[in-house]
């Protein structure tokens, strides 16, 4: 495939810096992590005991917190991905009906540029109990719905949903901007041609916008999926995984095991599990979209 008409080593020289960096930042840590996951180690001492796959067996069969954390992580992903069609709908509507859509989209984008710590603190205050100035409880109180007031982040039933919501709120603008750009990039002559053929409005969306937006849609889905598997900072700021593991996801569980319980090997095994889950689901998502692309394209 000598299309570029340059020597192989020229390519090599240009590729090498990135490749080295990538190897160092990605492959080496993953290999070390893979090794650490096979030992029992407190993270600071020299006493490492090789335990084979014991850590993985413990995680999969004996850890009462692991499967609930996986469930919460996947729920996180499902919610994040479910948000994207809504973003697309907004993008289409804004593109069609709003004169200076860019401005509106920029406003939606604002939460994304705020630091997660700030967002976490902000929403923590919003979720606070009434006597600590919580806004939601304040509104419920004003509406006479005292029965629905609660300490949102301290409720094992609701805390996780409160966290999902903050994430959805923050990343709405992010996915909206991606979808909006995607919609804008569809050449207008296609729509004009379709108009002549009698396809207008939502009909045009169905037969032109949707098929052409699939690649952009896929990017959003994958980003949302991986982003939510890694969800960590927001949870750490708002609940720290509490109360009593009720908001633990895989990443916070890993962090707590590694750094608070001094179980480095176990934490690494959790990290590796997360890597495997990421890879497996990326395959699945890719497969699904290839099929969709084939169908509509």
């Amino acid at each position: 495939m000598n299309v570029l008409k340059v020597r192989w080593w020229t390519i090599g020289i240009f590729v090498l810096p990135c490749l080295l960096l990538y190897m160092m930042m990605v492959f080496v840590p993953i290999v070390i992590s893979g090794y650490t996951s096979l030992v029992e180690w407190d993270g600071i001492g020299v006493n490492k005991t090789f335990v084979g796959l014991d850590n993985y067996v413990d995680i999969l069969f004996h850890d009462p917190h692991f499967w609930p954390a996986v469930r919460r992580t996947l729920m996180y992903a499902v919610f994040s991905m479910a948000e994207i069609p809504i973003c697309l709908l907004f993008a289409i509507l804004i593109n069609r009906y709003v004169k200076r859509g860019n401005r509106l989209v920029s406003i939606y984008f604002m939460p994304v540029i705020l630091s997660v710590v700030i967002i976490g603190q902000l929403w923590k205050t919003i979720y606070n109990p009434l006597d600590m100035g919580g806004m939601i409880n304040g509104i419920l109180n004003a509406l006479g719905m005292q029965g629905h007031m609660r300490a949102w982040l301290s409720s094992p039933q609701f805390a996780m949903y409160c966290l999902y919501f903050v994430s959805l709120w923050q990343y709405f603008g992010y996915h909206l901007i991606i979808q909006f750009t995607g919609v804008q990039n569809i050449p207008s002559d296609i729509y004009e041609a379709a108009k002549i053929d009698g396809a207008d409005g939502f009909k045009a969306d169905r037969y032109i916008t949707l098929p052409l937006i699939v690649p952009v849609f896929k990017i959003s889905i994958v980003l949302a999926f991986i982003g939510s598997l890694q969800a960590f900072d927001l949870i750490m700021v708002m609940t720290g995984g509490g109360p009593a593991h009720a908001t633990d996801v895989i990443s916070t569980l890993m962090y707590n095991n590694t750094f608070l319980t001094f179980k480095y090997g176990y934490g690494s095994a959790l990290a590796m599990t997360l890597v495997f889950i990421c890879l497996a689901f990326t395959f699945v998502i890719n497969g699904v979209f290839n099929r969709i692309e084939k169908k509509v394209g």
Binding site: P29, P243, V275
Partner: protein
């Protein structure tokens, strides 16, 4: 051909991106290879003989990691003053402060220890909490430095034992405290409470009376799980009829299914059920929890005596008294307290300037109690202070606390200072759970026993 190639490329690019993002996270969990050599003692000895005084001309920077980031706190002020004084007297020494919250510092040190990059001076916690660091050889013994300028004799008798392993002292405590119940006299009066509770039942009555008046009975910030545990352990100290429950468990004489333990869990749940704690306590961090009391919104605050100075500096100053945690179901002795030997200053075994660091820490610790006394923050100090507290203008609260200190006839260390980190974490989250739902005490006992058995 080209199409499929492009597709394959796209696919692998996507996979790689996914992988990269995932691994970025995984990298947090992966450890650095430990250096083949533990460093520790041999390194230390070599450095000692070589470095003493020899470096005087060179510019030396000492990193001082600490847990006093709050600019308004007395200890922060003292630290900065002592550092400035020392730098003025020793122009070749520069001391770089790395001030972090307690929890952040714990984590940072942990990661630093994993890569053998412990700062020259750092903070460790007594007994079981610092043991992994001592075992890993990342801390330098301080025996020689303690003998200089009579520093060793300034410490209270027996206090350094919590920081000693195999005859070596590895850290110097910033305090020595006991757990007390602070109470707001005005709020007690508002609820018609005339005397401090002597029994747990009286305390429950008071909680209900306060609650009825719309006053938060007991301030706590349970997002930082140690706060609830510290309170729970005080109840256990009573139901067990004295100290040593955890030690007995570790020695195999008792286990967590013991009635003393389940009784303590039940008593603790009674407090929760009576609405003793602020709503949403598990999402309030420890500092914010304390502020509920210090802004006069809560009637009691059950915490280490280290808060005395801060309370005296807050808006409720003058209205606060303190008493010892009451007996529970007629059990326990009010002269026994949860003991809290403070966080300790330790020196890295791999410090590039061991002698300078030791000299500075010696200066720091020798002058620490004097400054503390001057700034009226000497309650709960681990070192002996010369001087009359009342005459020096200490508050009634401070003098009251000092009287409680005199009554101490024994006690227990906090859970995480006694048990290993894995068991401690299980305990902390098990207690946090009690704040949000009612759990059968047998179940709580089982959680503890399982965690203990799995992490012996």
């Amino acid at each position: 051909m080209r199409r499929s190639e492009k597709k394959a490329l796209k696919k692998s690019a996507l996979l790689l991106t996914a992988g990269a993002l995932a691994v970025g996270l995984a990298a947090c969990g992966s450890g650095n290879e430990p250096a083949a050599n533990t460093g520790g003692a041999s390194n230390e000895a070599a450095a000692n003989t070589g470095a003493s005084g020899g470096d005087s001309g060179k510019k030396v920077t000492i990193t001082f990691q600490n847990i006093y980031p709050d600019e308004t706190s007395v200890t922060n002020k003292i630290m900065k003053e002592l550092v400035a004084d020392y730098e003025a007297a020793n122009p070749n020494i520069k001391i770089e402060l790395d001030s972090l919250n307690t929890d952040q510092q714990k984590l940072k040190l942990k990661t630093q220890a994993a890569s053998k990059e412990v700062p020259d001076i750092t903070i460790v916690n007594p007994a079981a909490q610092m043991k992994p660091f001592v075992d890993a050889g990342v801390l330098a013994p301080l025996n020689d430095m303690l003998d200089q300028n009579g520093l060793k004799d300034t410490f209270q008798k027996g206090l350094l034992d919590y920081y000693s392993f195999d005859g070596n002292v590895y850290a110097l405590p910033d305090g020595n405290n006991i757990e007390v119940v602070y109470y707001n006299k005005d709020l007690f009066a508002q609820a018609g409470i005339t005397d401090v509770p002597k029994t747990f039942d009286e305390m429950l009555e008071d909680v209900k009376a306060l609650k009825a008046k719309g006053i938060t009975p007991i301030a706590i910030g349970e997002k930082d799980t140690w706060t609830g545990s510290f309170l729970f352990m005080n109840i256990l100290l009573r139901t067990n009829g004295g100290p040593g429950f955890l030690q007995d468990v570790m020695d195999g004489k008792k286990d967590f299914n013991d009635p003393a333990f389940t009784e303590a869990v039940d008593a603790f749940q009674e407090l929760v059920q009576a609405g003793a704690f602020p709503e949403g306590a598990t999402s309030i961090d420890a500092n914010a929890g304390g502020n509920i009391f210090k802004t006069g919104k809560a009637a009691m605050f059950i915490i280490g005596s280290w808060e005395t100075g801060n309370i005296d500096a807050s808006s409720v100053a003058g209205k606060v008294g303190a008493f010892s945690f009451p007996t529970v179901n007629g059990k326990g002795d009010v002269n026994q307290f949860m003991l809290a030997p403070g966080s300790g200053f330790a020196i890295s075994a791999n410090s590039k300037h061991p002698q300078e660091t030791k000299d500075f820490l010696n200066y720091f610790m020798t002058n620490f109690p004097k400054k503390k006394f001057e700034l009226k923050d000497a309650v709960g100090l681990g070192q002996v202070v010369e001087g009359d507290f009342a005459a020096a203008g200490y508050s009634d609260l401070a003098v009251g606390i000092l009287d409680l200190f005199k009554s101490v006839s024994g006690g227990d260390l906090a859970f995480d200072n006694t048990m290993n980190p894995a068991v401690a974490q299980a305990h902390l989250s098990s207690i946090q759970n009690l704040f949000v739902q009612k759990v059968d005490s047998k179940q709580v006992a089982k959680e503890h026993q399982d965690a203990f058995a799995a992490n012996k």
